[in-house]
């Protein structure tokens, strides 16, 4: 006979302010199977948990219902409490009286009645709960890191230095990401490549890191500790073992006028190319869409000149498979192009550029070797306008959020410009200056006060070209929205940082959530910032939301430490919420008829065939069997089973029916 204890939490005023908790507890006393019921201010607190433990001992409870917050919040807490008091943790259920009741309804009788209903519902369920024990599964101690920007580099090095294997995959021909494109970094103005390239080289040389560039994730199957990653290595059209990276092919390639991605299309590259001189690995790839041979069937000049015969035109894409224990997603972000802005000319003015393009102009390794020259005619701009918040914080453009890094890099750009063009005029149009961070506000003040950058608070309604000048029409809202017109030689738009356009596809491959802006969603906004809702998959950097380098690095190390924690064990314990096929006495053995409908719908290939044999070794019956290591507990098989022979622990047919019945029979 079940002996259930009911514990109603006030959560301070959060539940108690709306729900009459005492009344709920009193009503629960009369529920079938309930032998003890009480309410308390904070059930999750130490005294609250002690109260539960004492009640378990005193009233010999076999099951517990805690009416408190969402089980997604505190279910592990109370299950632990119960198991410490000698009741199996899976005999404890939570009624969600906060998120699903007190926070969404007004104070009153109806709300208290609903709370009572919810408690009765879970009492109904818990009466049918069975003690379960966690499942142990082995861990593959190799991490997969997706994305080779600073986030992926940092995570990979942290994990590899701790002695575990890392597979780092990068979509581009080289690692380095956006950070490798930057000229200087705020707030110190130290050279980005100088601090990044040694780390890139370290990645390439690390014995624990397998670096796969020009590659994308094809699929990820399995679960925490036991993922199978299939990786597509796009054909580079060279034999990497033979290639020495001498660069002969790139100098001889006749197709030289392809706008280069690394220089944000301000400079050109060849069809066989290394994206930038410090690239890692420093070996070329052939861009098939622009290569004359691939497009027209003739040329093969690179092949002729290659001293090691490393060119392979017929190289196919290759799929490789790796066993993975945990994944870090570090795919970063993109910036909107100037063509996103109708009012600034839909990208038709050559001298209206993005912040990332300005980085290339300011970079010593960029197309102008660090001189600020405008793209249209190569002249040094005498007057330059920077627009912060180009697209960001603009619901009309579909981007409601702040891109976070623009205030700082715009100040940096204006300073770099003033340091290089002493007599020039720099204007910044801004909404607010958001410079929260160590030495950040001091930095923007320096731009305004020492480098005399003219900051105008207001937005720009239009930019148009006239007589070789860009007319920037805006308003100065600190002067009563007075119209301002600047005749500029060049305009830099701090365009919004957005998620990659294939971010949603990747999220679906990984089964992680993504938000309305296609940024990946963390498991908890405050307490689990690097975890996702899918166990074993972690986030680092700007793929989660726009962030700067220090934050990205901190997050990357955070993700690495989570993985190291995971890899410190040889076995993982998993929730025993898995499906099971029933067993019966002979001659039936199981009600399973062996139709294997369950097998066809299982997304995890967790259903196996089991042959039941007699003593002579002859097969009497073939039935389904669930591999608890593979089963993730979705229960799709349960709903499909025609003979009700398969059930899921923790959400069994009995439990769910009783839960619904208890809920509805309140009269």
């Amino acid at each position: 006979m079940a002996r259930i204890g009911v514990f109603i939490c006030h959560c301070g005023e959060n539940i108690g302010g709306t729900v009459d908790c005492n009344k709920v507890a009193k009503s629960a006393e009369s529920f079938d199977g309930v032998v003890f019921s009480t309410d308390y201010k904070y059930m999750c607190s130490d005294p609250g948990q002690t109260l539960i433990k004492q009640a378990i001992a005193e009233h010999k409870l076999t099951g517990v219902v805690v009416g408190a917050c969402s089980p997604r919040m505190h279910e592990p807490t109370f299950r632990k409490t119960c198991s410490e008091a000698g009741v199996n943790g899976y005999m404890c259920e939570m009624a969600n009286l906060r998120e699903h009741c007190s926070w969404v309804h007004e104070k009153g009788e109806a709300t208290t009645n609903k709370a009572t209903d919810l408690v009765r519902m879970l009492v109904g369920k818990v009466k049918n709960n069975k003690p379960l024990s966690p499942i142990k599964v082995p861990v593959s101690k190799t991490a997969l890191v997706i994305g080779g920007g600073i986030a992926g580099i940092q995570t990979s090095l942290d994990i590899a230095n701790a002695g575990h294997k890392v597979v780092l995959i990068e979509k581009q021909p080289s690692i380095g990401g956006h950070m490798s494109q930057l000229s200087e970094t705020f707030p110190t103005l130290d050279c980005s490549q100088c601090i990044l390239t040694p780390r890139m080289v370290e990645v390439a040389q690390h014995p624990n890191i397998e670096l796969i560039t020009y590659a994308e994730l094809e699929s990820l199957d399995g679960f925490i500790g036991n993922f199978k990653a299939r990786i597509r290595k796009k054909a580079k059209s060279i034999d990497e073992k033979l290639c020495t990276g001498c660069g002969m092919c790139t100098t001889k390639c006749p197709t030289k006028k392809i706008p280069g991605e690394f220089n944000e299309k301000l400079g050109n590259r060849t069809a066989i190319y290394v994206p930038f001189p410090q690239a890692v690995p420093n070996k070329p790839v052939i861009d098939k869409n622009n290569c004359t041979y691939y497009q027209k069937g003739k040329c093969r000049i690179c092949e002729k000149f290659c001293p090691t015969q490393a060119i392979r035109f017929d190289q196919p894409d290759e799929i490789v498979e790796r066993s993975i224990g945990a994944v870090v997603v570090a795919t970063g972000f993109e910036v909107k192009g100037t063509d996103f802005f109708p009012e600034y000319g839909y990208g038709k003015y050559a001298d209206v550029i993005t912040g990332l393009q300005f980085e290339r102009l300011a970079s010593a390794s960029g197309p102008t070797l660090g001189e600020i020259r405008r793209p249209s005619d190569g002249k040094i701009p005498e007057k330059i306008v920077f627009l912060a918040c180009a697209g960001s914080r603009d619901p009309a453009k579909g981007i409601k959020y702040c891109s976070k890094i623009c205030c700082m890099y715009t100040a940096k750009h204006a300073m770099l410009y003033k340091h290089k063009v002493h007599h020039g005029d720099a204007y910044v149009f801004y909404m607010d200056i958001r410079a929260a961070g160590k030495m950040y506000d001091e930095f923007t003040r320096r731009a305004i006060e020492e480098d005399e950058v003219k900051y105008i608070r207001g937005r720009v309604s239009r930019i148009y070209e006239k007589n070789g000048k860009l007319i920037v029409k805006g308003a100065d809202t600190l002067l009563g929205a007075m119209p301002v017109e600047v005749e500029a030689d060049m305009v830099v738009l701090a365009t919004a940082s957005v998620a990659h356009n294939d971010a949603a596809d990747l999220a679906q491959k990984l089964h992680v959530s993504y938000d309305e802006n296609n940024f990946f969603v963390e498991a908890h906004p405050k307490l689990k910032p690097v975890e996702t809702n899918t166990a074993g998959i972690f986030l680092a950097g700007a793929c989660q939301s726009p962030r700067d380098i220090p934050e990205t690095v901190a997050m990357a190390s955070g993700a690495a430490s989570k993985i190291l924690g995971l890899f410190s064990q040889n076995e993982l314990t998993r929730e025993p919420v898995v499906a099971v096929v029933n067993r019966a006495a002979p001659p039936l053995f199981s009600t399973c008829a062996g139709c294997f409908m369950c097998q066809s719908v299982c997304p995890y290939q967790a259903i196996e065939k089991e042959e039941i044999k007699n003593r002579a070794g002859e097969t009497i019956k073939t039935v389904a069997k669930v591999n608890p290591g593979l089963c993730q507990g979705c229960g799709t098989c349960v709903a499909f089973c025609r003979s009700k022979s398969i059930d899921i622990q923790g959400f069994s047919n009995e439990q769910m029916v009783e839960e619904v019945f208890a809920l509805l029979n309140n009269d």
Binding site: P342, G345, Y346, R462, Y464, N467
Partner: protein, 284 residues
Amino acid sequence: MSKNMSVAVYPGCSLNGSSREYMESLRAVLNALEIPVNEVDDWNCCGASAAHNIDQDMAVALPSRILAQTAKDGYSNLLVPCAACYNRLKHVQQEIKTSPEIRQKASVLLNQEINTPDTIVNILEYLQSTVMPRLEGKTLKPVSKKVACYYGCLLVRPKGISDEKQIEDPQGMDQIMASLGAEPVSWAFKTECCGAGFSVSNTTTVARLSSEILIDAADRGAEAIIVACPMCHSNLDMRRREIEKYSGRKFDIPVLYITQAIGLALGIPAKKLGLQRHFVPVKI
């Protein structure tokens, strides 16, 4: 041609008064191409530029009646050449389509059921879909001039109501003019406001805004400005003297309706296109 297939035209007050040459030239072009012109029966003022600033009910009721009149006669398409009327009618069409309350209110005010034609097209959409295809194969007298196509602020806005994709840099008029042999200049004031709303109350603002438009067109070598809005036309043409006084510059750039430009290309006599009515002479 059944009524459902054909288009009804709502001229509006301006096209019967200060900008009658717009309607004259539209008629002349459609006649030359043998396209029937069906005016909406017993139409009324749409209330543009005044009503929606003063009285929300009137702002909905006036256009609602026009839409109802059009639908009553079985037309599913309505052509509205005046940009201001187009803007109001398109607005109200959306309001009564999406809000049963507004539709009900208009119905009570007008004491009749409110229906609307399926589509409302502006002059550019109409010319591109119906008129331009009929010019193919015809011998045209090319308009070999540099022209500034001026859309104004009402024709292609606002986003969500207008069907225009490039609101800040529309191309429809430029394409039409290019196919007539003209050279559209790339300029910055295509969709800027001429100050029409202030044409009575604050003429200095009109002079300032309109002179900015004229200056940019002139500086970029335009020999004519092409418009599709009676307000734009009257500000740039009739108020030329104020503009010149304000800006201290002389301009002899004529302002033509797009329909007049097409009429000239078709060889229709200037008088039939109402060119003699302009303040700034059109020298052909």
